[in-house]
Subunit: 304 residues, 2 copies
């Protein structure tokens, strides 16, 4: 299972009662942080999952509200006794941005590894999850990210017997793709397992206009976290100019992608009551939620 | 009169219930901000004095807890429709630090003027206040600052008559140092005013060990705002190593400098109840206060 905690739900600037949009993803005790605006470390402290096991920070883009908290976060992770390397992934230009910001945090007790990508075909494994990126359509280069946990097929006794696999290798083949027996025979997991089962998929896209690429990227997600600057359709021109989205546009994407659940976030500071505007999204995609700070969900395999 | 608002009272990292140490000084509607850590813009928003009239930001040193909020603060000041130039003053090295941090805030609607100083003899006028700097003793170059508002002497009718000043120039000479009369005679303000009266002096020093220079710098201050990482004397070795101060050390400085009032700030995250430790300072300097976030004071001329 994967835990998702939306640390903040604001855009543009941190407010007394709304932190900037940022997501913490936890799997098997290890964590990935998505975006790190001013104050993200404070809401993360309120959440209480700790800092030491943040193995990776993904940055969507270099607008201050998505990265200004990075130096403080790195120092706080350093204060948590972390010594293992930490990876930061973001769009091209990440290196000079991080180098500039680290002028006030030059000394850290762990190594930082920087990975730049334009998002095209980007795929990697982090903390046991398959992480992909997608190019978004914002005023500056911006990336969305997805996290997938695949699930092997069910163990099928009849297949194991059919394939003449000795009992002692059954459990090994549930964990490993390939086992060599003492007599030299090679057994593969497909000889005992049924077809791969539905896994877990989590997607996060902000800041962006809606694109066909997003609809494709989020296909079948269990949870789609998407920006929605405003609910009011009269703000369409404003979000088109600033390259953001209305609630209804996020909902249309969720419907096109056939996702299970949509969380709205990255509200304009002018939007004081997102819940009151939620109907604009629910008219299009029913299972939409207007997230608030530290909105939580545990994503589980279907029958668990 | 000068308004002083201590926006936060923490050191090292922002906490859910304690912002980082930062001071807002207001005089005649214009403001100077001292230090700008992560979240300073949020506590400033809670204070409610606005952002547009912040004419100058003074930085003590380049540890992240004193400057990491700068990019977000500059953007928020930009969003307040400010177009007039803003001055940032700090130790040598300010330019590359600000240049690095502004990689995430490259576009602002106002010009930024940077002033670097090592503190020796630094003196300038900002928003009508005389601002001086002093070198502190921290792990990296660090400056303390003072703000002074001088006060002219009282108007003395007998002197004006004695010096044969026509009545129509009396009020002019209360506002101007020098007035030329219609008949060509020159009158100066000392011809109508008594000796200069006591003005207002406000001082701010963090992060530092106590020094003789500080005791001299704060001489006669109405309010001395000083760091105190811990109250407990057993922490002496720790503060000596980290180049900070105990409550008692700040109090000794206040006593040496003959100040009127001392505020303690920049508490360690481990110090959860500064008030409970206040006696360590009050034993030495009675008028000590354990400041909390948005601690306020209006400093007035003695008889106003």
């Amino acid at each position: 299972m994967i835990d998702a905690a939306l640390l903040g739900t604001g855009g543009m600037m941190p407010l007394p009662n709304r932190w900037l949009t940022s997501l913490l993803v936890r799997y098997n005790g290890r964590m990935i942080l998505l975006d790190c605006g001013e104050g993200t470390q404070i809401t993360a402290r309120l959440l209480g999952w700790g800092f030491k096991n943040i193995d990776c920070i993904l940055i969507t883009h270099f607008h201050a509200d998505h990265i200004s908290g990075l130096p403080g976060m790195l120092l706080t992770i350093g204060n948590s006794d972390r010594t293992r390397p930490l990876t930061i992934i973001g769009p091209r230009g990440l290196k000079p941005v991080v180098e500039g910001m680290r002028r006030i945090a030059p000394e850290l007790p762990f190594e930082i590894r920087l990975v730049e990508t334009d998002g095209n075909g980007f795929e990697t494994e982090i903390i046991g999850l398959n992480v992909k990126a997608v190019r978004l359509n914002h005023r500056i280069p911006c990336l969305g990210y997805s996290f997938e946990l695949s699930r092997k097929g069910r163990f099928m006794t009849e297949r194991a017997i059919e394939n003449d696999i000795p009992l002692k290798y059954w459990s090994m083949l549930q964990k490993n793709d390939r086992v060599e027996a003492e007599d030299g025979r090679v057994f593969t997991s497909d000889m005992v397992l049924g077809p791969e089962r539905k896994g877990i998929k989590l997607c996060y896209t902000t800041d962006t206009r809606p694109t066909e690429g997003i609809a494709e990227f989020i296909k079948g997600a269990d949870l789609f976290i998407c920006e929605g600057m405003y609910g009011d359709p009269e703000k369409l021109k404003s979000v088109e100019e600033k390259k953001h989205m209305l609630f209804s546009e996020a909902a249309s994407l969720a419907r096109s992608g056939g996702v299970k659940e949509l969380w709205l976030t990255h509200y304009s500071p002018a939007l004081t009551n997102p819940k009151a505007e939620l109907f604009h999204a629910r008219n299009i995609f029913k299972n939409t939620k207007a997230a608030h700070d530290r909105f939580l969900k545990t994503l589980r395999f279907e029958d668990e």
